[in-house]
């Protein structure tokens, strides 16, 4: 119940709706109890005792009671709905807002499926409980207690005899929900396994077809389907074992009522009308008991749902504004790392003792093998994470003393894994600046070499992309992401392996365009290809979280270390081809070839159009 107390602030302001709904519910239940009494009155007072004049009155009372009851029923349901819907509206907004404020570290660990289960399933479960789950539970308790009271009042000993099977019923309904629950969980898992198999099969259809593995896949699928059926039938068996028997328990009550109650009428200790009323009242007891397990299950589930939602709401923000954080104002873009070490959670440190100064407007190239700490390094600048020790300074100010929003607005990043939202290409590019004009968007797309392929799409910039939209290649997505970063007009630009999926030709074109754009901005370029970083003002080589080499392209080549090794591997082909070029081809020599460099693209165009 602690859950409800802690979520109180969402429903407390709406408590009047709730109270009103409860009052309506109680009145509705009370009116429901009157109905069997009306039948009793007709049988006993009118038919047996002969007060014929009362017949019309009692009969019309049935309609009167039903109308009043219906009105309360409607109000109870509708007010309950409003209460649930309004509460959950606030709750959902708060959850969303909380999710948006959680740090990168949280999303490194978070599983989308799990979060979605909470946001979609648990929120709805909680809403339903607020809207009618609780009301139903209350209803059943009231029905049970009042029905029992009336029966005891009418004939207490008959009541006790007739209800002799009820404890068993109560026990069974409890047992049923305990056993059926795991069966349903297993069923859901089997269905989710089945979906996974299909999902993989379709995503990997090229692989399946190219190895001619269709029959094996069909078998595999068949096994999963068989497994699902097995789970389904297991759940059905439980259902079969309990459901008819639970119904039978109530029926035995009716049987006892007819036998014992009937003899009492014969003895004259009970009237026929009362017996008829008993036939109705017995279900007032049986139905709640049959449903009790379900209702209690509902309650526990929604408490669990509430708990899972609270977990999200209570998640601390690992990176947030310091109380005295100041607005950084327009920055120049000077970035300094002072003895920075960093580790993700309790893992091995990803960065060790990094010292680095990047003057405003300069370009840094970062090289190193997978896992050497390249992405970690740049993600400390916009404070996606906080350094474990040491300081990261922007314009000489520790980033932890600055307001996050102001800092991040002046930094743009192109992530290694491109993410586009389900919307038009235009919206995706202008994601950071929705006020950008169309011309600005086009200009950014042109710089990122995205304009041409966008124009070839069926609806140009209005083409929908993302999950359900048109499929784009990895390279195309990256170029849109680059355009998005450029349009943000940052002082600091971070390209985290941003051109990994575009071919070398296009990469080169993008770099040429970036050349002008990077002017005056501090730029960090993470790459694997020497060609991407060689013009940088300084290049650092990372290994195992440390800077092992730093300098310009020339300096590092001369050094003959890691950088030189990478260079040799990447260029041995080109160099030997260069040699063969100068020898075989009918050109004046290396210098002449290189002089044509800038025309090469144009030349290719000419050749291809011929």
């Amino acid at each position: 119940m602690d859950v409800f107390r802690r979520l109180k602030r969402y429903f407390w302001p709406l408590r009047r709706l709730w109270y009103a709904s409860i009052v309506c519910g109680v009145l509705m239940t009370l009116l429901g109890l009157v109905r069997p009494l009306l039948l009793q009155a007709i049988i006993d007072r009118v038919l047996t005792e002969g007060r014929y004049a009362e017949l019309a009155g009692w009969s019309l009372a049935v309609v009167g009671v039903a109308v009043a009851r219906g009105a309360f029923q409607y109000l109870r349901a509708y007010l309950g709905h409003l209460f649930g819907a309004d509460t959950v509206f606030e709750l959902r907004n708060n959850l969303y807002s909380r999710l948006q404020s959680l740090s990168f570290a949280y999303y490194d660990r978070a599983k989308t499926g799990d979060l979605m289960a909470r946001l979609a399933g648990d929120v709805e479960a909680f809403r339903m409980f607020l809207a009618f789950g609780f009301a139903h539970l209350l209803d059943f308790v009231l029905l049970f207690l009042l029905g029992l009271s009336v029966m005891l009042y009418l004939d207490w000993s008959l009541t006790l005899i007739v209800l002799v099977t009820m404890p068993f019923l109560g026990y069974m309904t409890g047992r049923f929900h305990v056993t059926v629950h795991p069966a349903f969980t297993a069923l859901r898992e089997a269905m989710s396994d089945l979906s996974t198999v299909v999902q993989e099969n379709i995503t990997g259809v090229r692989t399946v077809k190219s190895f001619a593995q269709e029959p094996e896949q069909i078998n595999h699928f068949g096994r999963r389907v068989a497994d699902y059926i097995e789970k389904h039938m297991a759940a059905t068996s439980i259902w079969t074992r309990y459901f008819p028997t639970m119904e039978l328990m109530g029926n035995i009550g009716v049987l006892l009522l007819l036998a014992i109650g009937g003899s009492r009428v014969v003895n004259g200790t009970l009237t026929i009308g009362q017996l008829a009323a008993f036939f109705s009242y017995i279900w007032f007891i049986v139905h709640p008991l049959q449903q009790l397990g379900y209702q209690i299950n509902n309650l526990t589930q929604s408490i669990a749902s509430g708990q899972r939602l609270l977990e999200i709401l209570d998640t601390p923000r690992e990176v947030r504004d310091d109380r005295n954080a100041v607005d950084v104002g327009p920055i120049r873009g000077d970035v300094t790392f002072q003895g920075v070490s960093f580790a993700y959670g309790r893992e091995m440190p990803a960065l060790k003792e990094i010292d680095l100064n990047v003057p405003a407007g300069s370009v840094v190239g970062i090289l190193g093998p997978t896992g050497s700490g390249k992405s970690s390094l740049v993600s400390l600048i916009p404070r996606y994470y906080d350094a474990t020790t040491g300081r990261v300074l922007v314009d000489g100010k520790d980033v932890r003393t600055l307001q996050l929003d102001g800092l991040r607005r002046q930094i743009a990043i192109v992530f290694q894994e491109t993410f586009l939202f389900s919307t038009s290409i235009r919206e995706n590019i202008s994601f950071a600046r929705r006020d950008a004009t169309f011309d600005e968007i086009v200009e950014a797309a042109k710089s990122a070499k995205a304009h041409d392929f966008i124009m070839e799409m069926p609806e140009g910039y209005e083409t929908l992309v993302g999950e359900r939209g048109l499929g784009l290649s990895g390279g195309q997505k990256q170029r849109i992401a680059i355009a998005r970063a450029l349009l943000a007009d940052p002082r600091i630009l971070i390209l985290d392996d941003a051109t990994a999926s575009v071919d070398m030709e296009t990469e080169h074109e993008i770099q040429e365009a970036l050349g002008t754009l990077m002017h005056g901005r501090t730029t960090f370029i993470i790459a694997h290809r020497i060609s991407s970083v060689k013009d940088a003002n300084q290049i650092i080589v990372l290994e195992g979280g440390r800077i092992v080499e730093r300098g310009t392209h020339k300096e590092l080549l001369a050094l003959g270390g890691h950088y030189r090794h990478i260079y040799d591997v990447q260029f041995r082909d080109q160099v030997s081809i260069l040699k063969s070029l100068t020898q075989a081809a009918n050109v004046g020599g290396l210098a002449a070839t290189l002089a044509e460099e800038s025309d090469a693209h144009g030349e290719r165009k000419r050749v291809s159009s011929s």
Partner: protein, 618 residues
């Protein structure tokens, strides 16, 4: 690119926040009733006809027992209690006990049987659908996202569950109950029967009319909820981008909008939906009122006994449930219409690349490939390949080179017969690929795609993909051959390491090596390789190149090449441009020609400058 004047700059005004994200709705949740479609759907139940009949008979038995109850109680009241004969009362109690026992038994059997039948039918539909989709051609998959296909195999088939499990038997049971009650009522007292049935047409109208309204309003709610969930799902995955670009507030505005939209739809819907039960109950009460009044008068006039009067009241109470269920079945059928329409749409799609009826298995090939004036277009009027001719000898390595969209991938697609040529012919060892069976063709051609797809399962299973019967030793051998053994053996679970879709946990380079091992184990005569463009770190690059050499050995190979080293090692370089083969030859020959190939090569290392290149020649 200047933020200061962008707001005032010419062009569009700030766009409405509601357009920030777009989630296409799956609107069609139901379709008008379509008799032939329903018949086709029900034809899936044909194999289970006998069991269905048994289930129906059992249902009749249970229903009859159930319907007898008020009658027995009525008799007990009249003749046992009213006339004070305990013997009759005892007999009636016994009858009642028998009825309950019969009902109990019948209910159990019915639930088991109908569920079993339903699941079998569902399995048949699902399996048919899945198998059919397996053999559909690539253009089917090109047009659709994986999600939209998944939804049909999973959700649309699930939507038929209720119809197949309970639908048919329930309709039968409910019609039986209704006629049973009416027959009993009329035989007891026709006048009272007519009087009490007066409200039934109203109940029917309410159950169909109001239900329709409710259904429509619920559809609106579901569409909006689906939008919220779609956005949440995406928002979580893209959260880093949102935070990096400080767009939390903008997103919040969008979310508040869709959240509120959902709330309103829900409130609108519950205003209607909550009316349903009260209205039905009030209508029912009118019927009860009539029976009380008229029935009691009949009892007073000795035209009816008290027991039968009570039985009447009870029968009236039993009326509502079947009517309500029948209304529900109708809803189910309408929903099933939409789902089955989508299922049948897939089932009625025939593969564009189909085996000829007289196709023969391709004998074991040597690997000679002939393109004879091959033309092909994905879309009419836009040829992707034009009169391409090519003769490849067994064991030759062919590098396919050319700018994006020049036709490299098309050549690969035609070779595996993922598509059929539009003109000319493609022959392997002299057999036209259209004349042989697909399985025999593809099992002799291996393909390694750029983006390595791993299925969830162990690494060993993934490597064995094309040859599930391969031994562990063979798996180890191929891994050693491509140099994948070192990293695999370092993993805690080695070859039994479980990977997930998209190979989570493995680096791009490692996944590539796994796919090489997989292709090597399949040991095809012809190998097609789409070299990855993505850059990997240098160490991995070296591994991959070494593995590649091993993989290509002794096979006819087509490589969509991006690495110069691969291209240079090829026996034949085929240069494509705008769907035409423009140059064919070895590296040295083509460099000499000085055509497209040469300019492509030059373009690749324009950035190598003098000082750095000279010391590198070592």
């Amino acid at each position: 690119m200047n933020p200061s004047n962008s707001a005032q700059a010419q062009g569009s005004a700030p766009r409405d926040v509601t357009e920030r994200f777009v989630y296409p709705d799956d609107r069609a949740v139901e379709r008008p009733f379509n008799w032939s479609q329903l018949k086709r759907l029900l034809s899936y139940m044909a194999p289970y006809k006998r069991l269905t009949v048994i289930a129906a008979l059992i249902t009749v038995l249970g229903t009859a027992a159930n319907l007898a109850v008020p009658l027995i109680i009525g008799y007990a009241i009249d003749y046992g209690i009213g006339e004070r004969t305990p013997g009759v009362l005892g007999r009636m109690v016994l009858y009642l006990a028998v009825c309950y026992a019969v009902w109990w038994f019948a209910a159990g059997v019915r639930i088991q049987l109908t569920n079993w039948i339903g699941q079998q039918v569902l399995r048949d539909v699902r399996q048919t659908l899945f198998s059919h989709i397996q053999y559909l051609s690539f253009n089917f998959f090109d047009k659709r996202s994986a999600g939209s296909i998944l939804v049909r195999i999973i959700n649309d088939v699930n939507a038929l569950q209720e119809l197949f499990t309970n639908g048919v038997v329930n309709v039968l049971m409910d019609l039986l109950i209704l006629t049973g009650i009416i027959v009993i009522m009329f035989s007891l007292h026709p006048g009272l029967a007519i009087a009490s049935l007066v409200v039934v047409p109203f109940m029917f109208l309410i159950s169909t009319g109001l239900r329709r309204q409710i259904r429509l309003s619920w559809r609106e709610v579901r569409v909006r909820l689906a939008r919220i969930n779609a956005h949440l799902n995406e928002a979580i995955q893209g959260m880093k981008v949102t935070e990096a670009y400080v767009q939390e507030r903008e997103n919040m505005r969008f979310f508040d909008h869709i959240n509120d939209d959902y709330r309103r739809a829900m409130n609108r819907s519950s205003r209607v939906a909550d009316l349903f039960i009260p209205i039905v109950e009030v209508t029912g009460a009118v019927g009860v009122c009539i029976v009380y009044w008229y029935g009691a008068r009949l009892v007073m006039g000795d035209a009816l006994t008290i027991g039968l009067f009570i039985a009447f009241v009870q029968y009236l109470g039993k009326f509502w449930e079947p009517i309500s269920r029948l209304g529900n079945v109708y809803n189910q059928v309408l929903q099933a219409m939409a789902s089955s329409e989508r299922i049948f749409e897939f089932l009625d799609t025939s593969p564009t690349v189909a085996e000829k009826p007289n196709a023969y298995p391709l004998p074991k090939i040597e690997g000679r490939v002939n393109f004879k004036d091959v033309g092909f277009s994905y879309k009419a009027g836009r040829p992707a390949l034009h009169r391409a001719s090519l003769d490849v000898k067994p064991g030759e390595v062919v590098a396919l080179v050319g700018p994006t969209g020049s036709g490299k991938t098309t050549i690969v697609n035609l070779l595996c017969r993922f598509y059929d040529v539009s003109e000319g012919a493609l022959e392997i060892d002299g057999h036209d690929v259209r004349e042989v069976t697909l399985a025999s063709l593809r099992s002799q051609i291996g393909i390694v795609l750029q983006d390595t797809f791993l299925f969830s399962g162990t690494l060993a299973e993934n490597i064995r993909f094309a040859r599930p019967d391969a031994t562990m030793d063979q798996v180890r051998d191929v891994c050693r051959a491509v140099g994948a053994d070192t990293f695999i053996e370092k993993l805690p679970d080695g070859y039994e390491t479980v990977v997930t879709e998209r190979g989570g946990g493995l680096s791009q380079g490692q996944r590539q090596l796994i796919s090489f091992a997989r292709a090597l184990l399949a040991d095809p005569r012809i190998l097609i390789l789409d070299e990855a463009t993505a850059s990997v770190d240098t160490q991995t690059e070296l591994h991959i190149q070494a593995a590649l050499d091993r993989l290509l050995q002794g096979r006819t190979a087509f490589v969509v090449a991006h690495r110069l080293s691969t291209i240079r090692g090829a026996d034949k370089i085929v240069v494509l441009d705008h769907g035409r083969i423009v140059e064919v030859g070895t590296h040295d020959q083509l460099m000499e020609v000085g055509g497209l190939y040469r300019s492509l090569v030059e373009a690749q290392f324009r950035f190598v400058d003098e000082e750095t290149s000279s010391p590198a020649i070592s």
